[in-house]
């Protein structure tokens, strides 16, 4: 894949994941504001999320959007602030994406199962 094509695809992925994140953050915040009205308890949270396919799908989408968005943004930060470009940077970011995915899904499964 040429650099131009790869960069264009990364840019599109960054914008698309930003749009998904915008939606997810709004839903997440609205739910939080609604949920804390009568005080916040673990029991209440788990009652809402445990076994709920809809919340599982929503938070999986949230984690996926973060996994796409954050490493692409960090890629620019590393390139521009530290002058670090090249394949090693991309391998490190791929590993970082794996860590975010694992940690994120661990949390999602924790409140679903």
């Amino acid at each position: 894949m040429t650099d131009a094509r790869a960069q264009t695809l990364l840019w599109m992925a960054q914008r698309a994941s930003a749009a998904v994140l915008g939606f997810c953050v709004l839903v997440h915040l609205a739910t939080m504001i609604y949920a804390v009205r009568g005080g916040l308890t673990a029991v209440e949270i788990l009652a809402r999320t445990r076994g709920s396919i809809a919340w599982f799908a929503f938070y999986t989408l949230f984690v996926l959007a973060i996994v796409v968005h954050v490493p692409i943004g960090l890629r620019a930060v590393l390139g521009e602030w530290l002058g670090w470009r090249g394949p090693a940077r991309d391998w490190l970011l791929a590993a970082f994406a794996g860590i975010i995915w694992t940690a994120g899904m661990r949390a999602v499964l924790g409140v679903f199962g």
Binding site: T2, D3, A4, R5, Q7, T8, L9, L10, W11, M12, A76, G79, E80, W81, R85
Partner: protein, 232 residues
């Protein structure tokens, strides 16, 4: 007034008399002609047409010929004059513009028509949507104020910069152009339009009120669309 000028050896202070309607270029010229003939600076037209006198005045890139001293200097404050940022300095206030213009070539900034001299002129209405888009960016005179103001150029020396990308955009919108597939490939990539963070310093500082930011946004859209075009 007190004027501090960036020389190759460091900042040097001068005392320059103030006059009504005095421009920053008048100040630099006074220093060079009266106080220190070794000061190197560049200018040509003095009326905002050539774009050669741009410098950093009190931290901001400007055309010195079209900047009144009154507009940058408050009462009793000092004026600081330095060369443009993001370009190698040849001497004192003179920068080497080669890199800046080489990037126009890298962004495929020259017109490549498809008609021959035996064919008729292309008839394009001044009301044409693409032609209006070109009008918004075509008045660039290559002064490098935008390039000097751009943080992305400072962070990534390979970045093509606002002026070269704006030029590429005026050609992408030109229906007589034949080289746009190649041009869109040239302006994408790590050094191209996708590195722009939309800080809009170029648009804020352009003395011609051009918006390279809009041009770059257009290039981002076109490069994305070109991925789905089998012919490109």
């Amino acid at each position: 007034m007190k004027v501090s000028v960036k020389r190759s050896s460091g900042f040097q202070g001068f005392e320059v008399p103030r006059h009504p309607s005095q421009t920053v270029l008048d100040v630099v010229t006074y220093i060079q002609r009266v106080l220190d003939p070794t000061l190197a600076y560049r200018f040509a037209c003095r009326v905002g047409m050539c774009g050669s006198c741009a410098m950093t005045v009190n931290g901001r890139a400007r055309w010195t010929c079209r900047t009144h001293v009154d507009s940058v200097l408050g009462k009793n404050s000092e004026m600081v004059i330095a060369p443009l940022r993001n370009l190698p300095v040849i001497r004192d206030l003179v920068t080497d513009m080669r890199e800046f213009f080489d990037k126009w070539a890298k962004a495929k900034g020259s017109f490549q028509g498809r008609r021959t001299r035996r064919e008729d002129f292309a008839l394009i209405s001044s009301e044409d949507k693409n032609r209006k888009e070109i009008d918004r960016g075509i008045e660039c005179i290559g002064c490098a104020v935008c390039y000097s103001s751009c943080d992305v150029v400072a962070w990534n020396p390979d970045y093509l910069g606002p002026a070269a990308l704006n030029r590429a955009w005026t050609l992408v919108k030109d229906e007589r152009e034949s080289g746009n597939a190649e041009r869109l490939r040239a302006v994408a990539g790590d050094a191209g339009c996708h590195s722009c963070h939309t800080h809009m310093s170029c648009t804020e500082h352009c003395p011609k009120q051009i918006s390279p930011t809009s041009a770059i946004a257009g290039l981002k859209r076109e490069t994305a669309l070109s991925l789905f075009d089998r012919n490109s």
